[in-house]
């Protein structure tokens, strides 16, 4: 079981989907409409670039000190899905842009 959990945590970066209500998004809209929310999840261990390794080394050698930076690639949307429209409980229509991921990648 622990193996299973460990393997799940180390899944490579990929697109996943979830059925949620618009209210669940927490964007301030009140609507019971269910939408399909697609997101990116997974690890990016295999896509470490020379950039990441070098940056890590610079930091450990204290050549870079106070700045905020990230020495690991990140699983993020490369493209976003089409706009999504819905009717809220007050019978107003809204359209949200760039809500859901379309393709994912390690960037």
């Amino acid at each position: 079981n622990r193996m299973k959990r460990a393997r799940a945590r180390h899944k490579p970066c990929e697109l996943k989907e979830l059925e949620v209500s618009v209210s669940d998004l927490g964007l301030g809209y009140e609507s019971d409409e269910t939408i399909l929310f697609r997101y990116c999840s997974g690890t990016c261990d295999t896509s470490l670039r020379n950039y990441d390794l070098s940056l890590k080394n610079m930091r450990s050698k204290k050549k870079i000190k106070k700045e905020k930076m990230r020495a690991r690639p990140c699983c993020r949307p490369l493209l976003y899905d089409d706009d999504i429209s819905f009717l809220d409980v007050y019978n107003h229509y809204y359209t949200i842009k760039e809500l859901s991921a379309k393709t994912c990648g390690c960037v």
């Binding site: 939408i35 089409d82 706009d83 999504i84 819905f86 009717l87 229509y93 359209t95």
Partner: protein, 464 residues
Amino acid sequence: MIFTNVLSVCLLLDEVLHSWAGLSSQTASSSQGWRTPVDCVRANELCIAEPNCISRYRTLRQCLVGRDRNTMLTNKECQAALEVLQESPLYDCRCKRGMKKELLCLQIYWSIHLGLTEGEEFYEASPYEPLTTRLSDIFRLASIFSGMEPTSSKSNQCLNAAKACNLNDNCKKLRSGYISLCNKGPTNSEPCNRRKCHKALRQFFDRVSHEYTYRLLFCSCKDQACAERRRQTIVPACSYEDKEKPNCLDLRSMCRTDQLCRARLADYHTNCQVSFLSVTTCPLDNYRACLSSYSGLIGFDISPNYVDSSTSSITVSPWCTCKGSGNMEEECERFLRDFTENSCLRNAIQAFGNGTDVTIIPKTSLPLATISAKTEKSSVSTDDVNDGSSVYDNITTCASVQENGSKLNKSKDQNQNLCYLETQLSTDIMPDLRNHVDEKSFSIRHCSSRLLPVILLFPLKLAL
């Protein structure tokens, strides 16, 4: 000899029944020549390939410009052109809704038919191919693709329909497409572009599978929030309402100047015209055809919509009034009533919402217990149910029966049984009427299959 006699009787009967049932001209004409109509774009191509046809077609079009039928027919050349074209596939070609080159197809259709009708007719024949599939086919699709949940009393069907659409990429995309173009926004700061909104609505209803669009448009409601959501489906603030309500006949004239709008209106009149010869009051008892032509009107100036968010009564109307009709008031009211007081359309919408196809008309609805008791005894033999192909076998969801029978044991099999019982009942009540109405039921194939044993017996008797 006998065979030919019997056959001719069959043919005669067939013809009599056709005229009796008051079938629309399109079905009559397609049965005359026993040929299926080709689409007009194709028919035009076939005509171009034939020198005789294309020259006559050009002549006829010249003849029809600015002349009515009678003055045109006084010209011998025009008359000859018409006679030749009546034999060509161009004469009874049809178009498909949402087909490629739909406008071109309709242009070809109207180029012949507009001049040949007797003046301004109240109803025009539909330029579209008749729909032969039934509502039940949509129910089946819906249950396969989206796990259409049976209507429980709590759930809001219109909300479920929105969910089903949101979970389908194509439906979601085109729905968002028209909403974002039609939506004025809560502040009313930017006015909507009605023309673009209408175009996007047309795309939605033409390109998205009916199982999604019908569920959004014809969901059945038990509370006002649901009915308001249903009314809001087409974003009426932009696509429907206007500052002023025009006169309905003006609106109709305007629609008839546009070839696409004219075609859709003619299609609506063909498929949703109240007919007292059928059980459902719809032509040929075809609910699907009526709903399809109704949704085909959305995205034009004549777009109909629900007039309020009432749950008890369904009233739809285009955005128009009969005020200021002058001496045309009666015709205007007649035009408007085809929307507001149309029992065929109302029955079709209710049937879709309930998940039933051909149902019993409300007048004859009996308590469920007596229904099942009655139909158990009178088992309908399969021969009597007219060729059994389309209507009766396909009913997969029978939500209304589930609701009515909520006190009964809700096992799936039983529901299925009840569904069949219900449909059998509708054939039981008026078996005669049904046979007259369903054109397929009295086709020559059917006729000969019944009489064939008799025909074969005759020589046997003679030999003995």
